[in-house]
Symmetry: C2
Subunit: 210 residues, 2 copies
């Protein structure tokens, strides 16, 4: 655990803080598809992501989903922090997009470290900053873009975070993330294939030139 922490966070946290994290944190390794947080969950810990990708989803009363953004190594979940301040109920769902390693820190420490360590304060503020901007771009894409543009953006982003030009998703998977329907996504993907930008297969697709 200590070497993982030092690798990812050694350059931003003071050694004493790293020590504290090692003391109170618990190491966790989760497989792809593992549901880390469900909407309405009471949060007891704050995750520090060591490796892998976590996707953060929003859902409404009817069960309609929407992908908000991905967390990558070095990220933490601002939503979690936000929740720790308030009623502590999660507003979002977190699912491992790939196998992932992370460290869970008890939320009680948050406040303490915020007073004690400048690096922690900067980290927390920076996380909020990044997450707010991430949410803003998500909002932009929903408000200002059409579905074909959103789809292209989605494929690009997914390829980026997984470092893989093969997208291992069914059309239905994509439709869920974009809060659309399978038929619509199939239609648009077919267009992209006709334009030579992607190549479709069963259960996956290749990005050729987006």
């Amino acid at each position: 655990m200590i070497q993982n922490l030092t690798e990812e966070y050694g350059n931003i946290f003071e050694p004493e803080l790293i020590n504290e994290i090692v003391q109170v944190g618990t190491f966790k390794e989760v497989p792809e598809g593992y549901k880390l947080i469900e909407i309405g969950d009471y949060l007891r810990g704050m995750p520090l992501l060591i490796s892998g990708v976590i996707k953060i989803l929003r859902e409404d009363e009817d069960g309609d989903e929407l992908l908000l953004y991905y967390l990558e190594k070095g990220d933490t979940c601002s939503m979690t922090m936000a929740c720790c301040m308030g009623d502590a109920k999660s507003e979002i769902r977190a699912v491992a997009e790939t196998d992932a390693k992370l460290i869970m820190v008890p939320i009680q420490k948050m406040e303490e470290w915020t007073a004690k360590y400048k690096s922690w304060r900067n980290f927390v503020f920076n996380s909020y900053h990044v997450r707010l901007n991430e949410l803003l771009s998500t909002l932009d894409s929903i408000a200002f873009q059409k579905m074909d543009e959103r789809l292209i953006g989605y494929l690009k982003e997914k390829a980026r975070v997984t470092k893989d030009d093969i997208i291992h998703s069914t059309h239905q998977d994509i439709a869920y993330d974009l809060h659309s329907s399978r038929v619509v996504i199939s239609r648009l993907l077919k267009k992209l294939e006709e334009m030579g930008k992607i190549k479709l297969h069963r259960n996956y697709l290749e990005i050729l030139a987006l």
Copy 2:
């Protein structure tokens, strides 16, 4: 300035912090419609709202607008804080929805006070928390609601923050805020009038029962 501050913030900030704010802050009174922040502006100060309502807007490259949320007394602009951490360029526009009084605090103090005052830390974290959730509901309404529901929500929220069941807006104004077109809004408003929920007039409308 001191009595304004004490009225709105006296119960959450320590007296020493109030003193510091009085020392370095500048009082500002702006009329309805005053543009406080434009997209791309470099931010030099952080606003603490004393009275009035500020609306926060997002805009894309083509100049299409979208209302994100309102700030009310006791609120501050998390976006501003977020911007102070990063490249300091504003991602949003802030316009006074009503006449408003506020205190501008130099951003250099933010970091200092965060280390020094627990109440300030809580205030800043809480602001982020509230703003994140506000952004989430905005996102919800765009992603999951249809225009008629969004319109009703908009009218209710506007009536709430202005404490006035008369909405002093033209159909075009509303269309801008909801990122729709005037004709669409007129159509939907007419339907609401036929349902007896509102009464339409030139340049304003009355909410009867929403």
